[in-house]
């Protein structure tokens, strides 16, 4: 079923990605008393990019917990808390700051369940913002979700629409596994239709076909989902299928492979650095499963292994966008 068809069966309302995440958080906070949000300025301040705005007034300081600027400490504490009966939702303000807490993520959060023979749950959600485009320079603009998707024991999702932003946030909070939600900060204002049903979630590991097409498959994430849809609309002579994986790990291989078996052509668009990342993973799975369906070399669109520079012309040079996706499609179709 396409995303569009899914939404047609639901009662929806129009909202931004930011509002959709906030609504997801609000519903899960209301639904389960063991859920609380913690991070830098998530409470009184409302989140540095306003995602948690208003929740402090609604739920109070016990459930919207402002932490010290101390990622190792509060990510570690959330890990310990998740192992002992509560369900923290941690915000790491910018994904670039994740490095400060990487020990707790890679050696504790990711490994505890396995090392203990499966005898603990780890219901922790980590939300963080990614992406360039606002002149925030290299230490506030990175896209690091490939690290987490690569690391065994962690699950990673990256919404590209308002509906999936809400549904993935809720699924992450309900999961007994550690789930990272990577929010691209440039699409917080992007509008979309979002189901109002409080039981609506987007299950981990299910991609969505955002646009059906016969000629070329574009697998795009986060901001590049919208850009790909715009490109597809603008290409009158080509019928482009756009797939948002939504979940990076686990990854819905079947939906992508089925599409490539139909179109024979694939572009993978993700804001990560191009080498050793999400693009390569999609390419590997497609060649393993649909090698003989390919009619052209697979194209990758991403950041050219640089950091994100400050000055606007430099930043625009390296950030992947619709133009890059269109050129990639044209190269193979």
């Amino acid at each position: 079923m396409t995303a569009q068809a899914e939404l047609e069966t639901e009662q929806t309302e129009t909202m931004t990605v930011r509002e959709a995440i906030r609504q997801g958080l609000r519903e899960e906070l209301a639904r389960d008393e063991d859920v609380y949000v913690m991070g830098e300025d998530v409470g009184l301040f409302g989140g540095v990019l306003d995602v948690t705005d208003g929740l402090f007034d609604e739920f109070g300081e016990e459930r919207l917990r402002d932490t010290p600027i101390s990622e190792a400490g509060f990510v570690g504490a959330a890990t310990g808390a998740a192992a002992t009966g509560t369900r923290p939702v941690v915000e790491i303000m910018f994904s670039d700051f994740m490095g400060v807490s990487m020990e707790q993520i890679m050696n504790q959060m990711a490994k505890m369940r396995y090392m203990f023979g499966g005898k603990t749950a780890m219901p922790v959600t980590v939300r963080t913002t990614e992406g360039g485009g606002m002149g925030a320079a290299s230490q506030h603009s990175g896209t690091v979700h490939a690290w987490i998707a690569h690391f065994p024991g962690l699950k990673a999702v990256a919404p590209g629409t308002a509906a999936s932003a809400k549904g993935l946030t809720k699924a992450a909070i309900r999961s007994d596994d550690p789930v990272f939600v990577f929010e691209n900060k440039m699409i917080y204002e992007q509008q979309g239709e979002v189901p109002v049903d409080e039981e609506f979630t987007v299950p981990l590991g299910e991609a969505s076909v955002e646009r059906e097409g016969e000629d070329v498959t574009v697998v795009a994430t986060q901001r590049l989902v919208g850009e790909s849809l715009d490109v597809a609309e603008g290409l009158a002579d080509l019928d482009v299928e756009v797939i948002d994986p939504r979940s990076l790990y686990p990854l819905d291989t079947d939906t992508i492979v089925d599409s490539v078996e139909k179109t024979g052509r694939l572009v993978v668009a993700d804001e990560s650095p191009l080498s050793y990342g999400i693009h390569a993973e999609v390419v590997a799975r497609v060649q393993e499963n649909a090698f003989f369906s390919l009619d052209a070399p697979i194209q990758r669109v991403g950041t050219p292994d640089t950091h994100i520079p400050f000055s606007p012309p430099l930043e625009q040079e390296v950030l992947p966008d619709g133009d890059g996706i269109r050129e990639a499609v044209r190269r193979i179709a």
């Binding site: 063991d34 609380y36 016990e62 932490t67 010290p68 101390s70 190792a72 400490g73 509060f74 990510v75 570690g76 504490a77 959330a78 890990t79 310990g80 808390a81 998740a82 192992a83 002992t84 009966g85 509560t86 923290p88 020990e103 707790q104 050696n107 504790q108 505890m112 369940r113 396995y114 090392m115 203990f116 023979g117 499966g118 005898k119 603990t120 749950a121 780890m122 065994p152 024991g153 699950k155 999961s175 007994d176 596994d177 981990l204 590991g205 790990y249 686990p250 990854l251 291989t253 079947d254 492979v257 799975r285 393993e288 499963n289």
Partner: protein
């Protein structure tokens, strides 16, 4: 009531029993390691028994502890079963972690033991997190984070203590100062005179106690527990102790001499506690011999159990990654198990 308390005669005998059990467990584990029966490496707790037993003697059974790489003593003090511990060291399926953890990762979350830990300084954030759950759900518990002297130099330790003190969480941090961070003496790693001085940075009580004296440790942890339960936040306790064995089994220990080791052995925590109990008439040489014999039998049984226990099936390596399994691992497992992982297998 705790499983045992240093405040009663019965409890003191139980504390002595657990100290003997730790020493016998680790002595035997060291031998089995030397014989090649235990894979990997082991860090033994011999000499430090009073710290773990004194600490757990001041706790309630459902309190949490987060341990270190030198965790066998904490496990036994907390009441874990030596059979299942030894089975884990031997890499057996019946072990606490089904053979996936080994010496450095023994855990039993149901018993409040949040895991030995291979990362120096990782226990305190875990304890702060457990204390957060306790506080959030208004439960009548505390969480203890054990750490070594070396870990006091780790950033995440101070972040954990800062968070716990800022939020007045019911946590207790117990620094086992065994005088060496691996092979480097404590004074070459820290600028403070006592490691407990670092508590001042967080405006919480910091106390240094004789870690060779089980009752002194229990008293300090008991006070810290009371303070934590009263909502007054954490305490940092430094217990001065000594490990008789190397950092790990096989350590050549060029950093210290026999004379130093002997000086500490003269203050042996088990011998000194035993003489005190003899003096008080709570123990006789005969009853001590009986206790020692019982402990030796328990550990001999544990070794026999571990030797006889089954090794895991190789396919169990694919289990326990997630509460909700992912198709990736199932696919890789199916391919490897089906065709030995040869190229051309079905990757989906």
């Amino acid at each position: 009531m705790s499983d045992y308390t240093l405040d009663t005669e019965e409890g003191r005998l139980e504390a002595l029993r657990r100290m003997l059990l730790i020493r016998e467990f680790d002595t035997t584990a060291g031998e089995s390691f030397a014989d090649g029966e235990i894979p990997g490496f082991v860090h033994l707790y011999i000499g430090e028994e009073a710290v773990g037993v004194g600490t757990c003697g001041a706790l309630e059974p459902d309190d949490y502890i987060a341990s270190t790489h030198r965790g066998h003593g904490h496990c036994i003090a907390k009441g874990l079963d030596p059979k299942l511990m030894m089975a884990e060291l031997f890499g057996r399926r019946e072990g606490y972690c089904n053979g996936k953890g080994g010496s450095m990762h023994i855990a039993d979350v149901e018993s409040g033991m949040l895991g030995a830990n291979g990362i120096v300084g990782a226990g305190p954030p875990m304890a702060t997190g457990a204390a957060l759950s306790i506080d959030y759900q208004d439960r009548d518990q505390v969480a203890v984070g054990f750490l070594g002297d070396g870990a006091v130099a780790q950033g995440q330790v101070h972040e954990a203590v800062n968070l716990a003190s800022t939020w007045d969480l019911p946590a207790v941090f117990v620094v086992e100062n065994n005088q060496y961070g691996e092979g480097t003496p404590v004074e070459k790693q820290h600028n403070v005179e006592n490691l407990s001085d670092t508590a001042a940075a967080h405006d919480i009580p910091g106390v240094t106690v004789d870690g060779m004296d089980v009752t002194a440790v229990a008293e300090a942890v008991g006070e810290a527990r009371t303070r934590a339960r009263a909502g007054d936040g954490p305490t940092l306790i430094e217990a001065e102790t000594y490990r008789y064995r190397g950092h790990y089994e096989g350590d050549e220990q060029r950093y210290r001499d026999e004379e130093e080791i002997q000086r500490w052995k003269n203050r042996d925590p088990i011998e000194s506690f035993k003489s005190r109990l003899l003096d008080r008439g709570e123990l006789t040489e005969e009853s001590f011999e009986e206790l020692q014999a019982e402990v030796e039998t328990t550990i001999a049984d544990a070794i026999a159990y571990a030797r006889d226990a089954d090794l895991p099936e190789p396919a169990e390596a694919y289990e326990d990654m997630f509460a909700e399994p992912v198709p990736e691992i199932e696919g890789f497992a199916a391919r490897t198990r089906a065709d030995g992982g040869r190229p051309g297998g079905d990757g989906r």
